[in-house]
Amino acid sequence: MRIPQVERTRDEAVAAGVCAGIARTLSVDPTFVRLVFALLTFASGAGIVAYVGAWALLPVPGESEPSGRRRVVGIVLLVWSAILATGGLGLSNSVLLPLLVASAGVVLLRRESRLIGLALIVIGIVIFVSNNTRGSATTLLAPGAVAVALIVAGPWAWRLANERARAEERAELAARVHDSVLQTLTLIQKDPSDARRLARRQERELRSWLYPSIASGTLVDAVDRAAAEIEELHGVRVEVVHTGDAPLEERTQALVLAAREAMANAARHSGADEISVFVEPAAVYVRDRGHGFDPEAVAADRRGLSESIRGRMERVGGTAKITTAPGEGTEVELCL
């Protein structure tokens, strides 16, 4: 994290441009910042001390940086104003001093001087405990300790968790590549005759992992799975394209089963090596560019077409239309 650079500004300055500069950094109205300083003035004059401190500390763009001595004066004045302000707000020095020591410890801890930092935090806590020996001290101490622990350990734990998540992701990826792609490549090297089917299966598997379908248990999802089964069984390529989707219920279920049968027919009989499937919310089209057939000549005992496709669609109030001719390929239109 980068701490935003506060600068005084001459543009909207009333006095030295401190309030306007702070307001610009915080993107708030300068009047609001001026009001805060004015109110702080009532806390034993803390507002005025803070203003002078900030004037000493903050650079003006385009002018030389404040000198080292000037910065020290500025920081001292700011700390003094903080003590005045907290005193004015009713917080006692017994809280403030240990807080300051512990904060310094935290700052050092996050740089390289860990031991000194840790020591300062411990000293801060010890001062705090010894200053507040009455019962109320523990109730104040507990949240303070938790806060310090969070500031110190938070970034470290965050980094650790991130690294672990990344390592796990890498391990999962490696396992996935090993179980799938490498295995498939090994199989293909052993027996290249089945390379096409294996490669296609691998492709499908990898795709479904890389581009998971948005919803599972929908029409598109079910058609995709049916297509994968047909590819696997018959070694043809089935390309599924879709626009829109629909939930799976009795009618869309019938649509999927009819489409699966149409794909199986195309894979078995058409001789085409690719089948196109197009899915709409209430229709599926299965197309191949194989040799087609004469619908009149299909034997009456071949139940696939009449029963599994037509009958199934008609029972749920849909239609099945088959367009084909010898040499022209086949398209089965299934509509609900």
Binding site: V241, Y285, E331
Partner: protein
Amino acid sequence: MRVVLVDDHDLFRAGVRAQLGGDVEIVGEASSVADAVQLIKSLDPDVVLLDVHLGDGSGDAVIVQVAPERPGVKFLALSVSDAPEDVIAVIRAGARGYVTKAISGDELTDAVQRVADGDAVFSPRLAGFVLDAFRTGEATAVDPELDQLTAREREVLQLIARGYRYKEIAARLHLSPRTVESHVSAVLRKLQLTSRHELTRWAADRRLI
């Protein structure tokens, strides 16, 4: 016909080189956005075969940087990506079509030829994406001419998505193949010019913009 091939996989480039036939001549190859931009500007090819994903950026970046200086160069997107937002982005940048890498060599040669002749090349998958993007929504469009597909254009796109070729679509709809091509070109133009509310939302849903 002079073609530049842009893809970050050597193996794939070699495959395409071996498959392309006819009078297609591969005059240059690039594997990154920066190289591609420089190469295309210096070679001024007829067609660029462009992968959607490149090592140092995406295909649409190449088109955006080249098109203003070389308006004559036609781009055909070629990808394994199943992510519709990637494909639509490259088409919106000005590509004349999109085909998947599973396309056969003959079909690819034919597609390159068609793009060179000024036609749009729609694969079934692209037709599906476009139908999705132009899904009938409420007519809140600023420019209804651009922002909607006509019934005929929708019909043509649907047939492409179903796996029909232009000639078969023409026969089925009793149109001339030329008319089918002009419908397809009109859809492509709409996709590239449209400021459609619906399309914006579609893209936003897929974190495209």
